[in-house]
Symmetry: C2
DNA sequence: ATAAAACATGAATCAGTATTCATGTTTTAT
DNA sequence: ATAAAACATGAATACTGATTCATGTTTTAT
């Protein structure tokens, strides 16, 4: 509702405190969950007084939102970096998945926060996925035009890829801590290249 | 912690009240979210007094859990019914997705509750996905053995399929209300049969 | 018909915690 | 060096809402 966020801190000390509190909030929210996490928990972790948090953030909801926006930027930065030197779109998808999975294993808070966000702040959560989607579709469309992919529905493909990335991310960060990344990437690669239907020519093209 | 749940109601009236409150809880939780939903909201919707809820459920957490378990059963029932008369595994997957998507459009509370569950009661949420996974893998493995699918990593395939189902479910129930189901099913079918890589023989086999 | 069990009520309790604020300290600008 | 602005404190406030419980009603069993 309130569109005017707190102004940026004016001094170096201020910027540091804000960053300190934001980092503490990320940890606490991902470890305890939004509801269980109290302002006292966050400021204790950050080593400040409770009131200090309100110098930089309007409310518990707003600080959560800032945490999510920050993570969103990190996720997108990480994935675009991954695909920079891919040879073609299939390769880009595969590298993208691998980098992504390694990222979420390093930063398991990512998925916790995104999941919380779906519940705590649905608008921000939608915007996050919409942004990912909006950047994804043109890549897939262009790749199909260049014949690096078969022709197909780029939008639906984007959602399917995002679905695979998302669940695999949850899986490795929450369940197996990264030990299955290689298997996952191998099978994903095979899905993109051949689907999962029986293949006609058994062992000819590795392409 | 407390493993002893409330005993089953002894009378018809009791069973009806319990069902009434459970249905109200599903609606209220999915509309308002777990945190915002109060016991008063639930009992108001159910048309009973607040205390009545505590005759049948130990706590707000427990009633949420019961809602989730109930939905889990419905989801599994619906999807197994869908694939009963599929001709092969690829066909089963495609029918499964379509039925599934139509189900979540009819019952949009499904995804809201599952998402909430990831945050509110992580144990139950994990058990839900684990159960889906445990039932899925043997089907895929058996199908590969019968050569209805190519050989591959059945476990990773199961997670990828679940990821696609999940995101598409969220997508149609939350975003577009079912109008894109046909497009989605078509593209999904194509992914399973051919992948998304360029195809060697342009227009030969519809299989 | 009657006692016992089961079910139902809703106002009062009570614990937790987000937010404020009066007071102090540090930094910046002149 | 000094005033003003920015930053920091943490105890007190204020509110919410889950849970309880004393009391009443309905159903079941005999």
């Amino acid at each position: 509702m309130n569109m005017i966020a707190k102004p940026q801190p004016k001094t170096k000390r201020g910027r540091e405190r804000r960053a300190q509190i934001l980092a503490a909030a990320e940890d606490v929210f991902s470890e305890m969950g939004f509801t269980a996490a109290s302002i006292a928990d966050i400021t204790r972790r950050a080593g400040t007084a409770q009131g200090t948090l309100y110098l930089y953030f309007d409310s518990k909801d707003e600080i959560f939102r800032e945490v999510m926006l920050d993570l969103g930027r990190q996720i997108r930065r990480e994935s675009s970096r991954a695909i920079e030197d891919a040879t073609d779109r299939i390769d880009a998808e595969i590298r993208g998945l691998e980098t992504y999975l390694r990222f979420v294993v390093r930063r398991p808070s990512v998925y916790r926060i995104v999941q919380q966000c779906a519940v705590v702040d649905r608008t921000t959560w939608r915007e996050f996925y919409q942004t990912v989607f909006d950047r994804y579709v043109p890549h897939l469309q262009a790749a199909a035009d260049r014949e690096e992919l078969s022709q197909g529905d780029a939008e639906v493909r984007a959602w399917m890829m995002i679905g695979i990335f998302t669940l695999m991310g949850e899986r490795v960060s929450d369940w197996d801590n990264g030990k299955d990344i290689d298997r996952i990437v191998t099978e994903f690669s095979s899905l993109l290249r051949y689907g999962i239907a029986p293949r006609d020519e058994p062992t000819s093209n590795t392409r």
